[in-house]
Amino acid sequence: MNLKHRYTIDDLLAGCKRGERKAQELLYRALASKMYAVCLRYATTDFEAEDMLQTGFVKVFQRIQDFKGEGSFEGWVRRIMVNTAIGIYRKKLRGLNIQSIDEGTDQPQQLFDMERLEVEDLMRLIQKLPDGYRVVFNLYAIEGYSHKEIAELLGVSEGASKSQLSRARSWLKQKLMILEGGNQNGTYGG
């Protein structure tokens, strides 16, 4: 006899909207890992990521009545997580209106073996990015926001967003190169 219950996302959503703790827990369990990965990319430490995850999910359950089924629920939760992360760094990022865009000049033209690169290592590298670089790189390269959107979200200029992104790429490439120990037989080439 199969005692396991199968819940659809709609069942869980309905339960969460009624404030049922069990539904909230099941929904959390279903999305926690993915959302923790998002938080880890924006945070500098695992502890910070845990705090983000906690704050984000509390917001999700408190605002769940606002989710009207437009778009995917996962996408909605993810946006809340990203906004929670941005909220932490927004103040710090106000001073990033530096508009020196010198793309290409300091970017190493290296090849990287992304297949062989451990995702944990990559995550560590992203976490080590300076605050401004990290947030802009995450938003642009991974979340797919435009520079205009990032500028509005962070309260900085578009130029600053572009500049931060460029520096973030250079920084990451350099670190990846070091990580791979100068291995240039990678599958990814610039």
Binding site: Q24, Y28, S33, Y36
Partner: protein, 247 residues
């Protein structure tokens, strides 16, 4: 234009991190649960406050409506009550100035009777007096003025007022082998005066309604103001200036 190299780099990183599903520390859910418990308590109180608020307003509105309807519905009853009292009173009420004058004349033509402190009439001596008692208004003037022997015969209006509120009937009483005619008020005096006072208080329904409506500013401006006239018509005035202040 973004360079292809950068695009590829971003895409490679994105693909790499998208599939990453780290193990979430177990204590995070406990913390979320604890925070939700606290938050829900606060929210429940807030929601309770919000949900009860319209009920209070609705109850207040219902009280206003009910008291308004009750007060309005009572009006005709009150009129019936005034007209429905003993016949003497009714007749006195409908007495025209002419009849008042006549009553005065009658009163003057009987000075002997007016000097009497009380009417104590032997049945055998003045049987006519009995008939007059039943006649109503005329006798009422007589008895009323007899009731206040110290006072001079007063103008018609005053006498009429006495008639209305203190209608008297004379009853026969056996007293030491004499059948006496003693006047008794149909409505006890105390009761009659009490009735008048009570009626004055009832007229304050609009004042009560005004009291229930909250003021908008320090000048005691109110959005709705109630008033009533002597006939008991309740009118409601809406102050648009107060509405503007409220908004």
């Amino acid at each position: 234009m973004e360079r292809m190299e950068d695009k590829n780099f971003d895409q490679a990183i994105q693909q790499k991190v998208e599939g990453f599903q780290p193990k979430v520390p177990a204590q995070v859910w406990d913390k979320i649960e604890a925070e939700l418990d606290n938050g829900e308590n606060v929210r429940a109180i807030k929601e309770r406050k919000i949900s009860t608020f319209p009920w209070k307003r609705m109850a207040a509105a219902l009280v206003v409506l009910t008291s308004g309807v009750w007060w309005y519905a009572r009006q005709p009853e009150e009129v019936v009550y005034l007209h429905g009292k003993p016949k003497t009173a009714e007749l006195a009420l409908s007495a025209s100035p002419q009849s008042v004058e006549r009553e005065e004349e009658i009163a003057k033509t009987r000075p002997k009777e007016m000097e009497q402190k009380t009417i104590q009439l032997a049945v055998d001596k003045k049987p006519k007096q009995f008939r007059r008692v039943e006649e109503g208004p005329r006798q009422m003037v007589l008895t009323s003025s007899l009731d206040h022997p110290a006072s001079q015969p007063v103008p018609g209006r005053t006498v009429l007022k006495e008639e209305v509120y203190h209608p008297m009937v004379e009853t026969l009483e056996m007293e030491s082998n004499k059948l006496s005619l003693v006047q008794q008020s149909v409505i006890p005096l105390a009761q009659a005066s009490g009735e008048t006072v009570r009626r004055k208080k009832e007229l304050g329904v609009s004042d009560l309604l005004n009291y229930m409506v909250g003021a908008v500013d320090k000048e005691n401006k109110k959005i709705v103001r109630f008033s009533h006239d002597e006939e008991g018509t309740l009118s409601v005035a809406v102050d648009l200036a107060a509405v503007k202040i409220k908004l």
